[in-house]
Symmetry: C2
Subunit: 289 residues, 2 copies
């Protein structure tokens, strides 16, 4: 392996430790940072994610308030719950675990989260601020912000770099592209409709892979020495595992690490950063309150 | 000249005629589309722009309500004026001519324009919607939307094209980049900090030049056959003119037209589109009201 491994688990732990300290200081002043988690329905993955987030809160001196509604909860019930949390002064951040059941309109629910508690950073006003010079939103979305932290804390220079973002989703691709523009990178947003995609990707000094396809980025698509941040979380069959499956990224890690200058593994790269940035956002919300 | 000339004046006139027809139909239903213009101070260019906009309104069956405040108007006075227009049912669009005098906070004033009357399209919620899949803002900013119209009405294929946006301003570069992503182009946002800028620009099937420097883009930076939209409006010295000055774009038009496949002139390209799209936005505001 020639690439430097960007250890997301260790970097995330550093941030969690920083948050823990910050939260302890706030508690000394009588403010207990609080995150409300809202879970609707019985999706096992969602239950697992929320449990992880609550555990991380506990470790970081952040109180969490968990609210669970059944699969058959009405939109009005979910809305009332979120509005109540919006008005609760003990709650500094509200996390509505997605996806919501199909009969509930996601946009309506998310718009009910007050801007000052939008720790996920997905409110259109927070996204709008990312796209505007001279504006600052209340919160930056967690996974995109985590990608920037991985670049910064691994010593990658963003300013002036050619950054290619593969994928343009609302939750990763587009916001991370906007953050990179703010940091003076030259940014190319490419996607499934891009012509000569391999050539475009090969021009990247910084590659953010967020297209959601297992091993989509092969080693020959990577510029030698590039920094590669792999946001993908794809399950593939693997008969050697007890579960019969294995988590892989959007990048063919085994081959890419021989070409890239620095690279994140999957798991253990971007994944742990999302929770760390959520904790950081919650602390910031509490500091402002 | 080998490039097809994209005649912004003619395309803008087509749109103005469409708006005029739409406004006439609305008047038959008893609704008179109305645009309020707010001018603070004595900047001669601003006075000229507002006069042009009001004349265009009159020609397009749109009523305009003009409000002028002196250079020494207080922020509270401007705010009260804008709030009053926000509440006035005869007003479907509010145009605050920028720049405002230095002692007035632009963000505060613009945030007082109700979203439903933000015909300039600069409210962060409207910009946020541009950056998000599945969201639609109330209005699209005029000049960026004008660039897209020029591409569409000149027969340029946006989907799958490599589009390069030179400049990342809030009013042109960034929003036009977001619109191009929504239309499935592969979009590169470059700027003064970009390394090897000529190479990046040369990869463009569609080039949007909005960097604000006279003749910055030379012919050798243009891919043969590319469509070039020149947003620049720069004044340069010209002894052959009575005024001693001449308006030029960001592109060296005389040389570029021998390389490009299609190109907008300056003046007569993007310029006329801004007012046309403002009228279109005002009509849409009135149709919704």
């Amino acid at each position: 392996m020639t690439a430097k491994l960007i250890d997301g688990k260790a970097i995330a732990q550093d941030i969690r430790n920083e948050v823990k300290e910050g939260a302890a200081k706030l508690r000394e002043k009588g403010i207990v940072p609080g995150l409300a988690t809202v879970l609707v329905g019985s999706d096992p993955a969602s239950h697992k994610y929320v449990a992880m987030k609550r555990k991380a809160c506990a470790e970081a001196n952040i109180e969490s308030f968990h609210h669970e509604l059944g699969e058959d909860a009405t939109q009005a019930e979910v809305l009332e719950l979120v509005q109540g949390l919006g008005a609760d002064p003990k709650v500094h951040g509200i996390l509505v675990q997605l996806p919501l059941p199909n009969h509930i309109d996601e946009e309506t629910i998310l718009n009910a989260v007050p801007l000052s508690k939008d720790v996920d950073g997905f409110h259109p006003l927070n996204i709008g601020a990312l796209a505007m010079k001279g504006r600052e939103g209340d919160f930056i979305p967690c996974t995109p912000n985590g990608c920037i932290e991985l670049l910064d804390r691994s010593g990658t220079t963003i300013e002036g770099a050619n950054a290619v973002v593969l994928g343009r989703s609302n939750i990763v691709g587009m916001p991370v592209a906007l953050l990179l523009v703010k940091r003076n990178a030259t940014v190319t947003i490419c996607h499934s409709r891009t012509k000569d995609l391999a050539d475009v990707v090969r021009s990247a000094d910084i590659l953010i892979a967020a297209i959601g396809r297992a091993h989509f980025v092969s080693a020959d698509m990577i510029k030698p020495g590039a920094t590669v941040i792999d946001v993908g979380t794809n399950m593939i069959d693997d008969a050697t595992r007890k579960s019969g499956r294995r988590l892989v990224g959007d990048v063919d890690f085994a081959a890419a690490k021989e070409v890239a200058g620095a690279i994140t593994p999957v798991p253990g790269g971007v994944g742990p950063m999302t929770i760390a940035m959520l904790l950081q956002n919650t602390l910031r919300g509490a500091e402002r309150a």
